[in-house]
Assembly symmetry: C2
Homo-oligomer: 331 residues x 2
């Protein structure tokens, strides 16, 4: 009998996705992108995404507040939705509550959800509250809308495109390391991990510009996200490691900050591809409109080159098997 | 600190629902009905519903197959959607998988989901697969569409309406009792519990008829469902216990079949209210179009009478505190 940990999470998703091959012509994008995209007969597509946080797998109540947990559960869905170029609209929330959780904690959790929902103008329209035998479960499903011509998938990257990244990478993983050591300094890094703010404004600029060819949100680290874009687009990529944006704090608290950027994940920055001639222009436009810096970290090349990392001296760095897998890893 | 088991599931939902009071004018129905209803600027409303099954709370792998579990996780969402008068359209599925679950089991689970999805023409458009530390979690979120004039809420019942119920009640609870005793007889009762078929065709007849004033699906037993309709509509109800439809098998395997119908739940029959003069006509129409029998079990009265049960001899029967609560109950 094949064990899940041998197949791995991404293997399992691929297997499921093969089983659920599109039968419905209305479904433009099914499993395999940040969100599903559905034709509704209007000028906009309906986007649906879902993400779940399970205690001891995705968070630990030792260092996560209930408020922050509610915030993050919504934030990661908004990030997926934004990475399609879509405007998030309505969410439903399911809580699986073990007996140890008290009413005040549930209130705090919902306060965290509401606080972010209000900031990004999302309506929490329903949900389900059930008991869970041992671990806390927070599941959010979010709908969004995107104008047909503004939809951005993982599959549009072209040879010759530049690869752009918002903000900086590795901060969330650096924050998690500090939390595990019970450090309270570097508040900004801790918050990067505990209460990420989705790049909704930046994503809007990218999708409205009409310049980008693909986009993804960085939930699993640069290596995995870029591999996804390459696989879905049928291309390869070259990344200049020296160009990967890493904050001063991340560099200060970690001995291998580049590894955190490549493999840490949960940064919820945007990665997108843009024809080389337009890359600088779009980067400046985002900076001007949102205040967020954008870095050009590499370029799309032919498929057979796969995803390659080049050091500052031009030497190739071996890419580790990419990203954050749930099964197989001990928590 | 208030404990969840003192507040109870329904108390908690009410508390959350107060915190999330509608801010968004597009949200017509938020928490508190079978599904949320959202204005989209089209001739149809968008309906969103979510329901989650957690191992040891909602199912036991000792007597549930993975195929049946997948089927049921989708079925209960379709039932909620149908009870609004809506046509189910697209679903996302989240699996929280403990290490003990093997790949074959996940395949079976998805086969069960797909089998029902195909029957009712629902597209499984995405989802999330994550590890769960100890218990299996299956969460489904479903969207649907309903013509504005065909939307049926819990809140429309009027004094003088008749109360109608499809099929028969108590069968699912009777089936669960048999399963717990490891009985394999009465296959129809076991299937009522393990693989309910949502009353989607019957719901369509009700909503298209334009005759009904409110509708709900019976997931928590007649007592709780009718109490919900009464609370949301500001009315009371009188139920003639002798008219509650109970199958011969349910009556045969249980010493108190009426209690199963009132408090058992998970029957996924439809309960709806119709002006008295039209009740017989609608019941016959449903029978003719779908083959499903419909029973008139009571009538809507003024609010101050609350929900009252009348025995065959006309004596009032005390209503137990209604329905199926998750917290406070040992599993």
């Amino acid at each position: 009998m094949m064990k899940l940990k041998n197949l791995g999470e991404f293997g399992l998703i691929e297997r499921i996705s093969r089983k659920l091959t599109k039968r419905n012509p209305e479904v433009l994008v099914g499993i395999g992108d940040d969100a599903a995209v559905v034709e509704t007969g209007k000028s906009d597509f309906l986007v649906i995404t879902t993400d779940t946080l399970i205690e001891k797998v995705h968070f630990d109540l030792k260092y996560t507040s209930f408020y922050g947990l509610g915030w993050k559960a919504l934030a990661i869905n908004i990030s997926d939705c934004a990475a399609m170029g879509a405007t998030p609209r309505h969410a439903v929330v399911t809580l699986g509550l073990p007996a140890k959780v008290n009413v005040k904690a549930v209130d705090d959790l919902y306060d965290g959800i509401r606080a972010l929902a209000r900031k990004v103008n999302v309506g929490i329209v329903g949900g389900d509250t059930i008991s869970s035998p041992s671990h806390l479960v927070v599941s959010v499903t979010l709908t969004g809308e995107v104008k047909k011509k503004e939809l951005l998938l993982r599959s549009g990257a072209k040879v010759g495109d530049s690869i752009l990244v918002t903000g900086d990478l590795g901060g969330s993983a650096a924050g998690m390391k500090l939390l595990k050591k019970r450090k309270k300094s570097y508040r900004r890094l801790l918050d990067r991990h505990l209460m990420p703010f989705p790049r909704i404004a930046e994503a809007k600029v990218v999708s409205k510009s009409g310049m980008a060819t693909s986009m993804i949100d960085d939930s699993d680290g640069l290596a995995k996200c870029l591999t996804d874009i390459c696989n879905m687009s049928g291309v390869g990529a070259r990344v200049w490691v020296g160009e990967i944006p890493i904050s001063r704090e991340t560099a200060r608290v970690s001995r291998a900050p580049v590894d955190l950027a490549l493999y840490g994940g949960e940064d919820y920055e945007l990665m997108f591809t843009v024809p080389k001639a337009k890359a600088e222009k779009l980067a400046r436009m985002i900076k001007r409109k949102t205040g967020t810096a954008v870095s050009i970290v590499g370029e799309i090349v032919a498929r057979k080159k796969q995803v390659r990392l080049l050091s500052v001296s031009g030497k190739e760095i071996k890419l580790r098997s990419a990203g954050w897998e749930h099964f197989g890893r001990s928590v």
